[in-house]
Amino acid sequence: MDTTIRELSYAQAIQEAMAIAMERDERVFLMGEDIGVYGGAFQVTGDLVHRFGEDRVMDTPISELGGAGVAVGAAVTGMRPIFEFQFSDFAALAMEQIVNQAAKMRYMLGGAVSVPLVMRFPAGSGTGAAAQHSQSIEAWLGHVPGLKVVQPATPHDAKGLLLAALEDPDPVMIFEHKLLYKMKGPVPEGYYTTPIGKAEIRREGKDVTIVATAIMVHKALEAAETLASEGIDAEVIDLRTIRPMDRETVIASVKKTSRLICVYEGVKTLGVGAEVSAMIAESDAFDFLDAPIIRLGGAETPIPYNPELEKAAVPQVPDILKSARDLVNGVR
């Protein structure tokens, strides 16, 4: 089948995925705050309410806990809800339903039900929205067995992973970095899925492996170009899914390059990079390490408001450059 590939923004790609899903499957519906006429805080649902009506694009009251629970209930009983949090930070208000209910219901009931729930979380800093609207909390949910957690980095994957999430019988949490919404990239028309649990090598290299998530993939790629001009050949892996994690791809890469940098926006301590590092340290790749592993994660602070402080609170391209140079030159 011929598929046309167009340039779409990340937000458009998600919107297209939701539209395709609603057209294909009557059970699919959207819930969230201001996703109707407002079009969503980040205009991701856009005008879907006009195409599919208020019954399928439901504005909820500002009731995150209740809303999430309603989505869980609907998912367990035959529907396919896609629940949008206005900001991923607000998931804190709904943790009970996500963590205690959605993640555990199937297990607690001995496999009698599935929870085919998709939740979307606009995440990350860079918008000046300060401490309660800028967090990267994917690792919180990545710690919960029963959930799957993905972080698409490209418009292509944003669409493919959302459609894959809808096919998945278990709850899938999709973290969308807010600064990516306007980023454009090639997106095939029509239906396709991107596998959950599979990382993608965005750039092949032999000197150092940079495992990145979400917007950090792009920072890593930018750094890799600069490094290439210095003779350092970096391999950039887009992790895409943090639970379940694609061990094979990362292990194979580290065995090839002998060096590992993990770049992620979430707070460094106890974050995604900690898991990747530990996974490598426990794996066959350990014997191939020729330098310490470096984690570049968010600073140990809430996200500050001041733009310079905000930038300093998360890894930037120069941080990646320095780490890669240090590792390859044996300085660290």
């Binding site: 504005d59 607000f90 309660q132 602070t301 408001y305 001041n306």
Partner: protein, 346 residues
């Protein structure tokens, strides 16, 4: 003295019971100060909006233009010792509770001299020294905190009260219901003030809330629920006065609903798709709280046109100086990034 003031003066002398509450309760100086504060809030919001447009301000803002009577009216019976919790639309509350607009602008500009040293910005603005426990980025986030502060005041027998402002959207958060219940059960000195501007972001109260008035929720928690015209300073002040007195007497909480309207969008990225131009213009042209109060003041002879002009000029100067202060203030040192994540131990 113009004719209206003559009439008003006569009326006051003849029988105070015919005057609106605020004009009976407060001195002309206090009323002028209330007007000045409303105007200061208005001009602060406009100044912030302009600075935002010029790129001085990062992120987003939620402006309270049109809601000034609620901020100032509720605050009239308060002392500096009383406390408040505020919302994402909290600039007005902050000013009404006595904050210095220079340090507020400095915060918006992300400067070290700002109230939060550039860490919080618009959404977390607060002058804690004036009893403000903070604006809040989480809808309903401040309500239980206010209850906790009230519990603390009661245990410490301070006689202070706590105001918790929140919007109509917050009344559908679990935290609202849980907090009101506890405040009532424990008869805490807290006043819940819902600024119902008709929309939780884009979602109208009608589409989001099962009861016609937020104040109706009070019945479920056995406390008084009062609906007032939130754009009428005197009405707001009267409701606040009674609730504060009741709280100080130890009789427990009150829920006040100020029906009001925000002239601007929810935030700087709102395209106002969910309300009509006519609706917005009606509120601006016919129900502006400042104009309403100015008219009342003139009617009852508290101030004349020249007096109003003087207040405006005074505020103008204050705002200009404040923006200048913010512009010329130093930015935070990047090395201080993780300062105040934890308390420094001695």
């Amino acid at each position: 003295m113009d004719k209206a003031s003559v009439n008003a003066k006569a009326a006051r002398e003849e029988g105070k019971h015919n005057l609106p509450f605020a004009f009976r309760q407060y001195s002309p100086e206090q009323l002028k100060e209330a007007l000045r504060k409303m105007y200061l809030i208005r001009r602060f919001e406009e100044g912030a909006e302009e600075s935002y447009t010029r790129g001085f301000i990062h992120g987003t803002m939620h402006l309270s233009i049109g809601q000034e009577a609620s901020a100032v009216g509720i605050s009239l019976p308060l002392t500096d010792d009383d406390m408040i919790t505020s919302t994402h639309r909290g600039h007005g509350h902050c000013i009404a509770k006595g904050a210095d607009v220079s340090r507020m602008f400095a915060e918006f500009f992300g400067k070290e001299t700002g109230y939060c040293h550039g860490r919080g910005g618009s959404m977390h603005i607060a002058d804690v020294s004036k009893g403000n426990l903070g604006a809040n980025g989480i809808v309903g986030g401040g309500i239980p905190i206010a209850v906790g502060a009230a519990l603390s005041m009661k245990k410490q027998k301070t006689g202070r009260v706590v105001i918790s402002w929140f919007g109509d959207g917050a009344n559908n958060e679990g935290a609202f219901h849980e907090a009101l219940n506890m405040a009532s059960v424990w008869k805490l000195p807290v006043i819940f003030v819902c600024e119902n501007n008709g929309y939780g972001m884009s979602t109208s109260t009608k589409r989001a809330t099962a009861v016609p008035n937020i104040a109706d929720r009070a019945a479920a928690y056995a406390m008084p629920g009062i609906v007032v015209d939130g754009n009428n300073l005197s009405e707001v002040a009267e409701a606040s006065h009674e609730a504060v007195e009741r709280a100080r007497r130890g009789e427990g909480p009150t829920l006040i609903e100020c029906k009001t309207y925000r002239h601007r969008g929810h935030s700087k990225s709102d395209r106002n798709r969910y309300r009509t131009k006519e609706e917005i213009e009606d509120w601006i042209n016919n129900r502006d709280p400042i104009r309403l109060f100015e008219e009342q003041m003139q009617e009852y002879g508290v101030i004349n046109a020249a007096g109003i002009e003087a207040v405006r000029a005074d505020v103008e100067r204050e705002i200009e100086a404040a923006i200048e202060f913010a512009k010329t203030s130093p930015s935070p040192d990047i090395a201080s990034l993780t300062r105040d994540v934890y308390t420094d131990l001695p």
